[in-house]
């Protein structure tokens, strides 16, 4: 990271007066990435970096990239984003929810630079786009698997922060599980961090000690998988395929595949066709990929594959009514499908989840 910083500083000094990107097509584009964790987390940031490398491979000489890792969300990120904007980046991908306001703030001052913010919902300026993946589609599938495989009828959920994306995941997981076993129980533990292997392992141990036999996580490290493997439980991977950490433990993993999106958006800058957009793609577009279904009976695997196929084809949406809110009031009537906008701001649990959602 130090090296990147140094290079950046040098680039800033040298290219201080370089002309910003014009609206028309370009011969060469510089794409910059801001990651919340280290690229070696083998989870969220790792997958974004794999996407960056994929874009480099596809676009070859026409693309130059740079990245900053472990950038804290909040004020620090604003400086990092601004530094990138000044250093001649044509398009900047900010890959965590907490970069939302800083991204929009910097975008205002650099109208010629394109900004792409992952998992957020604010596009205050025409040069800001948002992108996200419908991970909840995968969560529904793993919820069904959990309900089939769990002997305790209870899963543990290691959650990071109570933001809509995470809440969607918990709800979708529970809806999937309830579709198999209406009495399925879910224990949720909030660790208030995206990445802390030790803490994630502690949470995993606490959940297993309290009797769950399946773990799923919305944090970024492989530690929970390892703990589950040690205790002979089952677990679902997160962001990347974590099978190496639990060859007999991992049931499947929801893999984030950002590569195609990065190629598409960077190409748009090259062609001069980039426009503000709000992308929310899922299984159908190949952004949400399921790792091979392993360590489960064939009938469970067949069920998972069927659900996955239905979600991919659009035949089924995980948030299809009737769905009750946690307090028992009706959220979606029979047959009604939740709108994307509503899901993007989801801040309540569905019925059957014991946990109290932190507000």
């Amino acid at each position: 990271m130090k090296k990147t910083l140094l290079l950046l500083a040098a680039a800033t000094a040298l290219a201080g007066i370089s002309a910003p990107a014009s609206a028309a097509g370009m011969d060469k584009v510089k794409a910059c990435f801001i990651y919340v964790g280290p690229v070696g987390d083998f989870g969220w940031s790792y997958q974004h970096d794999q996407g960056r490398l994929y874009a480099e491979e596809k676009l070859g000489d026409k693309l130059e990239t740079a990245y900053l890792e472990s950038v804290p969300e909040g004020a620090d990120s604003e400086r990092a984003i601004e530094r990138f904007a000044r250093s001649g980046c044509n398009i900047i991908f900010t890959t965590s929810f907490g970069y939302m306001d800083p991204t929009n703030k910097v975008a205002k001052d650099f109208p010629d630079v394109k900004f792409e913010h992952a998992t957020g919902y604010k596009t205050d300026h025409p040069n800001v786009a948002t992108y996200d993946s419908k991970f909840f589609q995968g969560r529904y599938v793993i919820g069904q698997i959990a309900a089939k495989v769990s002997e305790a009828g209870m899963a543990g959920y290691i959650a990071s922060f109570p933001i809509p994306e995470v809440v969607q995941g918990i709800n979708s997981f529970m809806l999937g599980a309830q579709s198999i076993n209406p009495d399925f129980k879910l224990k949720v533990v909030w660790v208030n961090t995206w990445f802390d292997p030790g803490k994630e392992a502690d949470a995993a141990k606490a959940l297993l000690d309290q009797g769950v036999d399946i773990l799923t996580q919305h944090t970024d490290s492989t530690a929970p998988m390892q703990v589950a493997a040690e205790r002979g439980a089952h677990a679902f991977g997160q962001a990347s395929d974590m099978i190496a950490f639990g060859p007999e433990t991992q049931l499947t993993s929801i893999i984030d595949d950002w590569g195609p999106y990065y190629v598409e958006r960077i190409s748009a800058v090259l062609d001069g066709t980039w426009e503000q957009s709000r992308t929310w793609a899922g299984m159908a577009e190949g952004h949400v990929v399921m790792a091979p279904y392993t360590n489960m009976p064939d009938d469970v695997k067949a069920m998972a594959e069927e659900t996955q196929a239905k979600i991919t084809s659009g035949e089924f949406h995980p948030f299809t009514g009737p769905i009750m809110k946690q307090d028992g009031s009706e959220w979606l009537a029979d047959g009604v499908v939740a709108e994307d906008g509503e899901l993007a701001g989801l801040n309540f649990y569905v019925k059957g989840i014991d946990d109290q959602l932190p507000q």
Partner: protein, 306 residues
């Protein structure tokens, strides 16, 4: 293994790296040197331990490698602050930043590989004691080391002549120097001890706690260790109490959440910090005692008069 045992074991695993790193830093600070590079030395220990365990196939060698890596890394700090008399605060911070970056570079080849776990050593007879035997006497060697380190440091500081000299240097390096005590040499040794402890604490993370290598895996534990030393007013037994209290509240709050007690999780996440600070502040309320225990020359550079 019943649930109580399982919970206590989890607490011990969580507390061990904090305790080790803190007890090392305590000796460093008692000698009057403030090394803010604990996080950096820890992460170097973590990456070295993981890499060496992978390459040699022996987790024991990995642990040793972590210890040595932390010590060597601390020598860099020693050279800059003790020989070249650079500012200790700035150098310590730089050491942390360097450690985080360097470890990421070294560890790149090891990302995504499951690691070796350091095996527990069961102490004959003692490990058969009901309940406590399993908790205290069938643990990994790094846990034993952490406890021995606390007892050893406590004895060394307050019962040995060398420890008295070290404390004298920490209180007034000029007076100690005038009395013929070798200030720089003692401080070098203290810094190296601190580095070794931090390195071993890092090794604990990557080959015991979560046997894997990921960048930044210390996740701020070095800073918690630093804070523990201050809040424990530089007393080894209080560092022990603080580390275990922190571990206990950290694990307890996760259980409280899993039980669904309905307490806001943000508050629970902050609880380990709040509880540890509160308890250590209360036991350090005697201001005179705290003043006596605070190394008066802490963080000040020493240049011998000619």
């Amino acid at each position: 293994m019943d649930m109580t045992q399982a919970i206590i074991l989890t607490i011990m695993t969580a507390a061990t790296p904090l305790l080790l790193a803190a007890i090392g830093e305590l000796v460093v600070e008692r000698s009057g040197v403030l090394n803010l590079g604990v996080e950096g030395m820890m992460i170097m220990g973590a990456v070295a331990a993981f890499a060496i365990a992978q390459l040699t196939g022996s987790a024991g060698l990995g642990a040793l490698g972590g210890l040595v890596a932390g010590m060597l890394f601390s020598l860099l700090f020693g050279f800059l602050t003790l020989t070249l008399v650079a500012n200790q605060v700035a150098t310590g911070l730089a050491l942390t930043i360097l450690g985080l970056g360097l470890s990421g570079m070294i560890g790149e080849a090891f990302i995504g590989l499951p690691g070796l776990k350091l095996a527990a050593i069961e102490i004959p007879l003692l490990s058969d004691i009901p309940f406590f035997g399993r908790l205290l006497f069938s643990q990994d060697p790094i846990f034993y080391t952490s406890i021995i380190a606390v007892i050893g440091v406590n004895w060394f500081l307050f019962r040995s002549r060398a420890g008295l000299r070290l404390r004298a240097i920490g209180d007034s390096h000029t007076s100690a120097h005038a009395l013929g005590v070798k200030v720089v040499r003692t401080r070098y040794l203290a810094v190296m001890f601190g580095g070794a402890c931090a390195g071993l604490a890092g090794a604990h993370l990557s080959i015991v706690y979560t046997p894997q290598w990921v960048e930044n895996m210390t996740a701020g534990r070095g800073w918690i260790a630093l804070a523990l030393v201050v809040f424990a007013s530089w007393r080894p037994t209080r560092v022990l109490a603080g580390a275990y209290l922190f571990g206990a509240v950290s694990i307890g709050q996760l259980h409280a959440q899993a039980l669904g007690l309905g307490i806001p999780s943000q508050f629970l996440s902050a609880l380990p910090y709040l509880a540890t600070i509160a308890v250590l502040v209360i036991i350090s309320l005697n201001r005179r005692m705290t003043l006596i225990n605070t190394p008066a020359s802490l963080g000040k550079s020493f240049v011998p008069e000619r």
